[in-house]
Symmetry: C2
Subunit: 443 residues, 2 copies
């Protein structure tokens, strides 16, 4: 049993509590005691504000190697994708392990305790299967374990190129041939104490409705989360309508994929009916504001989705930035930009998306909260940086969401283990490993 005394902690309400003791037994929170003004002897002292561990509900770890390198050219989402494909074509298992391990370690430094890795690069060059068909999935699970982050591996089915074309170039590394082979392969992936397996339909571009139904059925059978990229770009909607006479959301709903274990990633360009479908189903919509801004996707209808009944989650997606506080405020700030008004989302609401609702969307409903029985995952943000100096308890939640950055994270506990102390990763020299891994895969 380890006990932590938090100078301030957010227990899920509208404000932070001062003086909270968290007792941890193994990988679970055993007890939470508020109103403890002075740190009891033997407690680990956590200065600042302690919040549930942050859930990064949508990541492609290997995109980290593209950071800044795609910014010198004009273009669109689709030309950016060509640069991403060129990187995907080059990766081998050793390079991928080093890159994913360092990227996941960067996430833990940023306070992320659970990552949903949306995994579509599962084959060798030319689409050949590795001798262990899940070689790259295993690499990702190993990377997460070594980095100290909890993971849901969302293995993505990807069968077709745009317009139903055959897979070409790097895309061939994404394909299983058909959905039954995808299901057989994914069924062999092994979960663990800090790893679970989920399913993903890459998108309605890459998976036809019959195959998508097979993926959805696999997820239902396994009680697993189901994720899909949905309506990130208008062109995706146009192509889906031309081919299937309905929107991506309606198409997925028709094959039974849209339910409370479903997460629509992006959900940027939706119709009113789409919003109603997602809300009524109590589905989750995972917004990735820094990526959606970087890739010129546009601003999704986050507050309308929430008002319709959908839950919100957050993802760093392309990892051009790894900072879940910036993702959280991006939801609100980008709605301000297009609406001309403030106050669409509250700080507690955005923090719930970054914690509790992200955990649920990744199949860990017992996590993302500081409460007895919950997974012992929590993150402490210092208030002693120049960014946060002047923060008082009455607006500490607003400071976290609207002013904090990843560099303000001081301590991170995952599954009861202290992974980050005083801003330093216990096992990994993160900047050095990132540098070495990125330089290796760029050359």
């Amino acid at each position: 049993m380890t006990s932590y005394w938090c100078e301030r902690a957010w227990l899920g309400g509208d404000a932070v509590d001062e003086g909270v003791v968290i007792d941890v037994d193994g990988d679970r929170i055993a007890a939470v005691n508020p109103d403890v003004a002075v740190a009891p002897q033997g407690c680990v002292r956590l200065s600042g504000v302690t919040v549930p561990g942050l859930a990064n509900s949508h990541s492609h770890a290997f995109h980290r190697a593209l950071r800044s390198t795609t910014e010198s050219q004009a273009g669109s989402f689709w030309t950016w994708r060509e640069q991403m494909y060129a990187l995907a074509e080059r990766l081998d298992p050793d390079g991928y392990l080093a890159l994913a391990r360092a990227t996941f370690a960067e996430m833990v430094l940023a306070g992320i305790t659970l990552v949903g890795e949306f995994h579509y690069l599962h084959h060798d060059r030319g689409g050949r299967a590795y001798s262990d068909a899940n070689r790259l999935g295993s690499v990702i699970l190993q990377a997460a374990s070594e980095a100290g982050v909890r993971i849901t591996l969302l293995d993505a089915c990807y069968l077709h190129g745009d317009g139903g074309a055959e897979l070409a170039g790097a895309q061939r590394r994404f394909g299983d041939g058909d959905a039954d082979r995808w299901a057989a392969r994914v069924s062999d992936l092994a979960a663990g104490p800090t790893a679970r397996i989920g399913a993903a339909i890459h998108s309605v571009r890459a998976v036809d409705p019959t195959a998508a139904a097979i993926v959805a059925a696999w997820a239902a059978e396994h009680g697993a989360p189901l994720h899909a990229h949905v309506s990130e770009q208008p062109a995706e909607n146009d192509a889906c309508r031309a081919r299937y006479a309905r929107t991506p959301t309606a198409l997925l709903a028709d094959i039974g994929a849209v339910h409370s274990r479903f997460t629509a990633v992006h959900a940027t360009h939706l119709t009113t009916d789409d919003i109603s479908i997602l809300g009524t189903a109590r589905a989750t919509c995972c917004l990735c504001p820094t990526t959606e801004r970087d890739l010129a996707d546009g601003v999704g209808p986050a507050s309308r989705l929430r008002d319709a009944g959908a839950r919100l989650a957050l993802g760093t997606d392309s990892n051009a930035v790894i900072d879940l506080f910036e993702e959280a405020r991006g939801v609100e700030l980008d709605e301000r930009l297009v609406s001309g008004t403030r106050g669409h989302h509250s700080a507690p609401g955005l923090l719930a998306a970054a914690t509790r609702d992200g955990y649920a969307s990744l199949g860990w409903p017992e996590g993302g909260r500081i409460a007895p029985g919950a997974t012992a995952d929590f993150t402490t943000v210092g208030l002693d940086s120049v960014r946060l100096a002047g923060t008082e308890t009455d607006h500490a939640l607003e400071a976290l969401v609207f002013a904090a950055s990843a560099t303000d994270v001081r301590n991170v506990v995952v599954a009861g283990r202290s992974i980050v102390s005083d801003g330093v990763h216990r096992d990994i020299d993160v900047a050095r490993e990132l540098h070495d891994a990125i330089v290796a895969v760029r050359s």
Copy 2:
């Protein structure tokens, strides 16, 4: 004479140079020598990327105390303004000095070497003149000097409330009564080696055309920069059109204010004619993207202004964030959000706005560049953080603009003096002073 060896430096072109020696004599750069692969003996070694010092072309230092505190309420620019006025009403000279000194020190830590302080709070409560009429202006100049930042004090004329109403409440502290009294007062402000005086028309809301012409004439007579808030909000445009039958830009042009020493701050909601007027005049438009996003102002036509001939500069404005890299990328990223395409602004173009063009807009045309004869103001960004790990020379400028944060700034030289070394301010415990100053003015 002090010599610095820069591992990499940006000398104004499309990429960084590796191995650059900067010789500094007094407060000026004496010589710049590229292609020096190994640091010569006796040189101060600057690892990372050295760029000209950053110009923060639009600041209201005291707004720093509002950071995060205004985020818990819904509303608009106009309701936010009520919270700002409540703070303005409380400030006294001692509290203002402490707050401005700490805020300017936060700026220097962020690599800012020149601040344009747009100064409208120059009277005591009730509008009474201080016994030294420039008491608060002197406080700001003292704060900048102690913080080690170069300053242009842009003293703002502010005569009327919205719709031509009499000044009320906190606004009374902004008013000189008439423009002649404003000019007499401002003529008494003393420049210094690192301080210059500029003029500002607060806005066409607060200054009638006759008075605005007097301010513009004062600036012309003194060869001083002239700034004004322009078209930040649609309501400002509507009121101006209703009253004067023209846009704010057209109105300012009619009274002779729009020229190459003029800076339009925000310039968010412009007509095609406004853009043409500003471009033809070679005026500067100072964008403040983090504030414009925070206050739900909208996204200004930055690339159209540039294409029309206007220069761009950047400001932290409300200081909800002090990070000029984030301001720079915000210009591009927010245009992506509303256009659906990428590549409106290049990294070197945005860095020029953050340096050379900001210096020019604040009346320091000899600064903002690393060149012989320029002011010896430069900033070094380390590449060893997890955010920037993996950056190579070929995309170092893109990394600075699209991925760096204020916390990556390692060294800052202003007027030949080293103010920040290894990320630490030489004279000020910045976080502590910010905390103390903010808590004092909030209570």
